[in-house]
């Protein structure tokens, strides 16, 4: 049969979480189709058609899908499910919101946040916030899977998938979108950035996060935060890196004023290089950091900014 990947997008740009999910999907069941559900999303469709290894892009354009609400996505996916033996979505807030509904209606269990495909029906997934890895075998008529995208490499461009338009499915009318407050930033997206600079409670205030932002901008990095910093109201919730926030795996993760609670480590320990600045030399973050600097961040961050400028960054 075939597998279907739910595209993650904002109707303008396709998130690279989609291509990474295609990578996982091609080890589960081929050919791979991508479903783009949205409204006025031609640029997303074009980008999805270019992902290497995608045979077909299925497009459902309708105001119903503008915000990819779980209730309407459920009926759309159920209308397509017969043709696929696997349906996958990136483990984004959309994927996690939508896919369990589909699994329940198809009466199959869901396999959440896979990090490795060992065979078409054997997977690895983290449990206990990444403190243990579960290997599961799912011999199921249909596999419903969310994918931890930091664990997979995007296959790149070069594809030329055919495009098939489909009509909208029924609207159960149980829920409606009522607005959103999204953070707008010129910086790279947290989960896609090559470098992430994160701040913790050590920053002491939202105002002081400017010190983090200055360094991040020199490095073209995304800005992240620990749960403590978000709970203290220094930065919005979408900055949070950790088990209950975003999971990141950049080339460089620079943790500043972050002690390294287990929940935070779960969200960044797969980064290629971890560097930490903290004034407490006993901070657990140093146990996972490749490079640790024991220093007062209020001195170290301005110095880092100046030193980067000196080096032409």
């Amino acid at each position: 049969m075939a597998s279907l990947v739910i595209a993650e997008h904002d109707n303008r740009a396709l998130s690279d979480a989609t291509a990474k999910t295609v990578a996982a999907s091609s080890s589960v069941s081929c050919p791979v189709h991508v479903l783009v559900a949205g409204q006025n999303c031609a640029s997303v469709v074009a980008a999805a058609a270019k992902i290497k290894g995608v045979e077909k892009v299925i497009v459902a354009e309708d105001p119903l899908y503008l915000h990819m609400m779980a209730e309407t996505m459920e009926t759309l996916l159920l209308s397509l499910a017969d043709k696929y033996d696997a349906i996958l979505a990136p483990a984004t807030s959309n994927g996690k919101n939508i896919l369990p509904r589909v699994a329940a209606k198809l009466d199959v269990p869901q396999i959440s946040e896979i990090t490795k495909v060992l065979s078409p029906d054997t997977f690895e997934r983290p449990i206990y916030a990444g403190n243990a890895i579960q290997t599961v075998e799912a011999k199921l008529p249909k596999k419903i899977i969310t994918v931890r995208t930091t664990a997979f490499k995007a296959p790149g461009d070069g594809g030329n998938a055919q495009i098939e338009k489909i009509s909208a499915a029924a609207d159960p009318g149980t829920a409606k979108f009522d607005g959103e407050i999204l953070s707008h930033s010129e910086r790279p997206e947290l989960t896609a950035a090559k470098i992430v600079v994160s701040g913790g409670r050590g920053l002491g205030s939202g105002e002081n996060f400017k010190l983090i932002e200055k360094v991040a901008d020199r490095l073209h990095a995304a800005v992240g935060a620990s749960r403590a910093a978000v709970d203290a109201g220094y930065v919005p919730n979408d900055y949070q890196v950790g088990q209950t926030g975003k999971v990141v795996a950049p080339d460089l993760y620079l943790a500043v004023g972050i002690s390294g609670a287990i929940q935070h480590l779960a969200g960044m320990k797969d980064s290629k290089v971890i560097a930490a600045i903290n004034k407490d030399e006993e901070a657990p973050i140093f146990q996972v950091a490749d490079f640790g600097l024991v220093a007062d961040l209020f001195q170290a961050l301005p110095e880092l900014d100046q030193e980067l400028a000196k080096r032409g960054r």
């Binding site: 609400m69 779980a70 807030s93 959309n94 996690k96 919101n97 369990p100 509904r101 329940a104 209606k105 009466d107 199959v108 269990p109 869901q110 959440s112 449990i127 206990y128 916030a129 403190n131 243990a132 890895i133 579960q134 290997t135 599961v136 075998e137 799912a138 199921l140 009318g173 149980t174 829920a175 409606k176 979108f177 009522d178 959103e180 999204l182 953070s183 470098i195 749960r227 919005p236 919730n237 979408d238 088990q243 209950t244 080339d251 460089l252 287990i262 320990k269 290629k272 971890i274 560097a275 950091a289 490749d290 490079f291 640790g292 600097l293 024991v294 030193e307 980067l308 080096r311 960054r313």
Partner: protein, 248 residues
């Protein structure tokens, strides 16, 4: 309005989890167990609804071994009115949990089900959404804020890009995120009172639900370890090392 709050007994979030040497699972013997933290937030939200006069009765449900009755007592001490324990010594997958909950919803007829967005043991993040789908209800997952008005729940959700508001017709399912509220500690008098509140004991068979696992756990292993690297003495040295490592 009646509110149903499913709660799960899990390893306490402060405990360092150890993988068993035979890779059959994680060590549960002599380990402190507590209510799943997200479910605690769910109980708290339900109790606040009752205090505001919006909820009339709070029913807590736990599916698990006999000891899950302690988890129910915690919910009762926080302010839930009664409990239902669905006894099972085996691990039950989220879909089967959702089916048991559906049967309980059909009996109890709550207007709102509030539960944690995920349990911190299996990190599945499925049960609330599955229950909503089985019931044909709308859902507000990863809730940050809840307001009830005229047959609808206005729910602000924590999503990847920030916050999203949805209006869901009740009856509905809501799953909690961290910043919805800060759960209270039960007071001693309330803990004493909770001992007298009723807990009904049931089994999955009472609800006609087959709980045999459909996904086979082949093994549970330790994650790859990261070891501590080196300490640097200054900012320039840090940048030198990061450049050498090709990180910047």
């Amino acid at each position: 309005m009646k509110v149903l709050v499913p709660v799960k007994r899990v390893i306490d979030f402060n405990v360092k989890v150890r993988v068993k040497s035979d890779q059959s699972g994680v060590e549960l013997a002599n380990v402190k167990m507590s209510m799943n933290p997200f479910d605690e937030i769910a109980v708290e939200e339900a109790v606040r609804l009752k205090e505001k006069g919006k909820a009339t009765e709070i029913v807590a449900v736990s599916i698990g071994p006999q000891q899950a009755s302690e988890t129910l007592r915690t919910a009762l001490a926080m302010g839930a009115d009664r409990g239902i324990l669905v006894k099972s010594d085996a691990e039950i997958e989220p879909l089967a949990v959702a089916k048991i909950l559906r049967a309980i919803v059909n009996e109890e007829k709550p207007e709102l089900v509030i539960t944690g967005k995920q349990a911190i043991d299996d990190d599945a993040n499925q049960t609330g959404q599955m229950l909503a789908a089985l019931l044909g209800w709308g859902q507000g997952t990863f809730a940050h804020k809840l307001e009830l008005e005229n047959g609808a729940a206005k729910i602000e959700r924590e999503v990847d890009g920030g916050l999203q508001s949805v209006e869901v017709k009740t009856p509905a399912v809501m799953t909690t995120d961290l910043r919805l509220n800060e759960p209270r500690y039960a007071s001693l008098p309330n803990i004493m009172k909770a001992k007298k509140k009723p807990i009904a004991e049931k089994t999955p068979a009472d609800y006609g639900v087959d709980v045999a696992p459909r996904i086979k756990i082949l093994k549970v292993s330790e994650p790859p370890k990261r070891s501590a690297g080196i300490r640097v003495k200054s900012v320039p040295e840090l940048l030198d090392k990061l450049t050498e490592a090709g990180a910047i």
